[in-house]
């Protein structure tokens, strides 16, 4: 297992270096930079920008250096935990994204829990009672969830939550708690608002997971070892949970790679519609304004989470199911 661990890690390091280079240079591709855009805006408004001041700012943010030099300055900054300076907010990136990262994680984590908590019992029920009324009803709901655009569901849910529960429209907390330190009242306000984005963001994922779990479990339940286990008198619960369900979960373990980045940046459009103070809208704004350190930091955090997620899922899969899929020869 150590050899497997090391080989997978060995692939991760150059992957992350390559991603960091690609992220940095793609952000640099549009002509100009944040400062030159600001100067152009000031000039368009008839305000003169001091050349000395501009040169000072360029030197301060290393914009007078070559892209390659800037890349290495940025990379070593990342390694030190210094994510750079956000031009848009005029603050260190660590400070800008700190709170949002936590709120995004809370929304993402709650969504994952919701998705699994709803999809698993329904998927198992649908598979074990195939073609029953319950199965048909839940299948219909699943298709409805898959087909409804999240932003539309967001608008409907905001309206209903406001009419029925008096919840303020948009945001993750009541307006009086924004930019206030965490308190019990603020926590309760977050909880009161949290369920709406969680249901909106989680619905399509839940529906998809129900369909996949149902299909995978049906495949397993029809295999001979399950028939044999039942014929030998194994209790139905054990004949379901001991092996078939475990085997049906392999694709979900493989999905961990996609799950981790979604915890911090999923559902940007829904976040815009619902005015959620999460990372998605901030990343979009940073890319549009060429706030390169902010955008680059977001993208690198996502890349690290993707690579880490794929690594974790590969290790978990290797531990759970170390079977060869090749036939007729083993690769060394």
């Amino acid at each position: 297992m150590l050899a497997y661990f090391v080989r997978r890690l060995f692939v991760m390091i150059p992957t992350l270096l390559a991603i960091s280079a690609i992220v940095f240079f793609i952000i640099q591709l549009p002509p100009g930079d944040y400062l030159s855009n600001q100067i152009a805006e000031l000039r368009a408004q008839g305000e003169a920008a001091s050349m000395a001041q501009i040169e000072h700012l360029r030197a301060q943010y290393h914009l007078d250096k070559t892209p390659v030099e800037r890349y290495f300055i940025w990379l070593f900054g990342l390694l030190r935990g210094d994510l750079g300076w956000s031009f848009e907010y005029d603050l260190p990136v660590n400070v800008v994204i700190g709170d949002r990262l936590i709120l995004s994680f809370v929304v993402g984590f709650a969504t994952v829990i919701f998705t699994y908590a709803v999809a698993f019992p329904i998927g198992i029920y649908s598979a074990t009672r195939q073609y029953s009324w319950g199965d048909y009803g839940l299948t219909f709901l699943g298709f409805l969830g898959l087909a409804t655009p999240s932003f539309l569901l967001a608008l409907v849910m905001l309206y209903l939550a406001n009419i029925w529960f008096g919840t303020a429209i948009g945001g993750l907390m009541d307006p009086e708690f924004v930019d206030k330190p965490m308190s019990w009242a603020k926590f309760l306000s977050v909880l009161e608002h949290l369920w709406i984005p969680v249901v909106v963001i989680g619905t399509s994922g839940t529906a998809a997971m129900i369909r996949r779990l149902r299909a995978n479990l049906l495949d397993e339940l029809q295999k001979q070892y399950v028939v044999t286990a039942r014929a030998k008198g194994l209790p139905p619960g054990r004949a379901l949970f001991k092996y078939p369900l475990r085997m049906a979960l392999n694709p979900f373990i493989a999905d961990i790679g996609d799950l981790l980045p979604q915890l911090i940046s999923g559902a940007a459009i829904v976040s815009v519609v619902m005015s959620l103070p999460t990372n998605g809208p901030m990343l979009l704004a940073a890319l549009r304004s060429q706030d390169m350190f902010l955008a680059g930091s977001f993208l690198m955090i996502e890349a690290v989470l993707i690579v880490l997620g794929v690594f974790l899922s590969d290790v978990a899969l290797a531990a759970l199911d170390p079977r060869i899929r090749l036939h007729g020869g083993a690769g060394k």
């Binding site: 090391v6 997978r8 890690l9 090749l326």
Partner: protein
């Protein structure tokens, strides 16, 4: 007497991985100077790669021999296992690609007091796997379905019911 050895050429890739891994993690860790958050993951990674290099070096000095009575590992971590004491047989496949078209196998044999591992990078691996499987069958040792699949991929007839 049959023998499995790891030729230097077969281990060259692992030596290179260990060396490059240590270089890629230790160089920035030293270059950063004062203690920072990066040291918390760079230094453990450097230790891990160094450990992997040491394990590769050990493997390069090991020789596995087997006959009708048992299997022996000589060199670092020497061990001896008689077939009639065999308690566990496992042949696992570790894939380096998502579609599992590339990777390597690992054979783990154990008795109450001894354990012998062999990698498919060794010359004679298929012969060892075949001999060990035959002995496992003879001594009614449990061989799981995954191991049987992997034996078939090595070209070894592993029909029978997984236990």
């Amino acid at each position: 007497m049959n023998t499995l050895r790891y030729p230097t050429k077969a281990l060259a890739g692992d030596y290179a991985r260990a060396a490059i891994g240590v270089t890629l993690t230790l160089t920035p860790a030293i270059g950063l100077g004062e203690w920072s958050v990066a040291h918390w993951f760079l230094l453990p990674l450097a230790v891990l790669f160094a450990g992997f290099g040491y394990k590769t070096w050990r493997r390069g000095r090991q020789t596995i021999t087997w006959d009708a009575i048992g299997v022996s590992l000589s060199g670092p971590g020497a061990a001896r296992l008689d077939w009639n004491e065999l308690r566990s047989f496992k042949l696992a496949f570790f894939s380096t690609t998502r579609d599992r078209t590339g990777g390597w196998m690992q054979l783990k044999l154990s008795s109450v007091g001894a354990r012998i591992d062999a990698d498919s990078s060794g010359e004679g691996f298929a012969d060892l796997a075949s001999a060990a499987f035959a002995q496992a069958e003879r001594h009614s040792v449990s061989v799981d379905a995954g191991s049987r699949d992997n034996l078939k991929a090595l070209g070894i007839n592993a029909t029978g019911t997984a236990r």
